[in-house]
Amino acid sequence: MTLNRRDFLKVSGAGAAITLTGCSSQSSSKPAAKGKPHVVVVGAGFGGATCAKYIRHWGPNIDVTLIEPNDKFVSCPLSNWVLAGIKDMNFITRGYDNLPKHGIKMVKDYVTGIDTDKRVVKTKGGASISYDRLVLAPGVEILTNTVKGYDAAEAAGKVVHAWKAGPQTVQLRKQLEAMPDGGVFVMSVPTAPYRCPPGPYERACLVAQYFKLAKPKSKIILLDGNADIASKKALFTWAWNTFYPGMIDYRPNNAPFAVDGNAMTVSTEFDQVKGDVLNVVPKQRAGEVCELAGVRNDSNKAWCTVNFATFESTTVPNVHILGDSVLSNLPKSGHMATNHAKVAAAAIVELLAGRQPDPMPVVANTCYSATSDSTAGFVGDVFRLDPEKGYVKQAGGGATSQGAEINFTYAESWAENIWADMLS
């Protein structure tokens, strides 16, 4: 004899009553009495695709619609490998073809409006989609207008951020290939918080790796808006000294405020530097769609504050936010976004069934950074939610201080597995 949970609730009145007494959700959502509950997920990146898939896995009675404007997923992690010529765009580009097999309804469209009172999402294509719970996983909005002259220089093809993998990744690779030997690559790091804290320093390593092989007289000027290397400092210092001595001119406390695409200059408070290729990465905030839902609610109206057991907005009920848009001490990494997604998916399944979500979930960050075309380092940390203190980093974690070949192999394996976990 087998009983599923629903049968069990029907036949064991007393037991069910006891079980449910402890299950008062802080949220307004009730179990859907009639019809299937519907979750709408906006954005099919690391966070959104993972969340959609795991909601269907843990809550097969829940309908899931995933709204994404792009045809394919292009991974930011490993896009620096493309800049160095280690991998090509095909490798970091993956299709959404398998998601419908999990019962996810894919909608290729842009979200143009969100009514959080009526719980309706409106799209550019004219659709109105109702939800019981909404998940926003839009990544970051890159604030190009915070750097004077950026928009014009970008439109003229003279500066890119390439901080969203895609056409700008291709453009930057072409510019690096076209740059003469002895040229100068100017890159900037935004002031934290920003997407992928080690990403800029990994990019410096891999562009230097490419220069070393293809145009060894070239140099990199790295203008950092932060006071110091913001992530994996020991690892990157080791890599720059070991593999690329004299190639990387690192200048902390140097946030660009202006770009001139005609003169090919970048201006900071202290410097004006001229480059052959300009890769200025402006500061960021939660993705645009968060504004539509009114969930950019931190003190700067830049990021989203959430209940960390559910990733539900602290101010707008039934709206969950995942990934880089969230304000937290968790690193803004693709890996972390998939962890947000799994905690949120489980919580949403529990809430829609009238049960209480796990109040103390445990998540982990694993993040590899390549230090050359055959070595990489990593950081690994486990975080445990303390209801009073938020996610607390557990003892024993941390970063490697040198690169190793085995970790380069595992970095590629990480990518293949996390893409498969999201999309296969």
């Binding site: 004899m1 009983l3 949970r5 069990f8 036949v11 064991s12 037991g15 079980t19 299950c23 795991y54 843990w58 890996h335 998939t338 962890n339 799994k342 905690v343 489980a346 399944v349 529990e350 049960r355 209480q356 979500p357 796990d358 109040p359 103390m360 979930p361 445990v362 998540v363 982990a364 694993t366 990593f378 950081v379 690994g380 940390d381 486990v382 975080f383 445990r384 557990q394 003892a395 024993g396 974690g397 941390g398 190793a404 085995i406 970790n407 192999t409 595992y410 590629e412 394996s413 990480w414 990518a415 293949e416 597995n417 996390i418 498969a420 976990d421 296969s424």
Partner: protein, 101 residues
């Protein structure tokens, strides 16, 4: 209507089912296990160089994790991660991965 025999059977089931229905305990393990899959592949079946962990015995899983915790077993990122989990979580994850194929 249920006869006495059915009631007893159900009562037994209630005891078993509560561990599963309580949500928190059960989902706590499943969510942690899901976070392992980012590196070890969907359902614990790796498509890369990292080892798959689906279907390995609970004993083997627990020993590996405990040996990573103490540093007895050589490794890479697992040496940084294993110490973040409680013994009970490691036991529960091991039991869960043993059921996967």
């Amino acid at each position: 209507m249920y006869n006495k025999k059915t009631t007893l059977a159900l009562a037994g089931f209630v005891g078993l089912a509560l561990s599963g229905i309580a949500g928190a305990a059960d989902m706590h393990t499943q969510v942690i296990a899901a976070t392992c899959m980012s590196c070890h592949g969907p359902g614990g079946n790796s498509v890369g160089a990292a080892p798959g962990i689906a279907g390995i015995s609970q004993d083997r899983f627990v020993k590996a994790m405990q040996d990573y915790k103490t540093g007895k077993r050589p490794g890479t990122v697992m040496l940084k991660l294993a110490g973040g989990y409680t013994d009970a979580e490691i036991e529960a994850m091991g039991a869960y991965f043993a059921t996967l194929k």
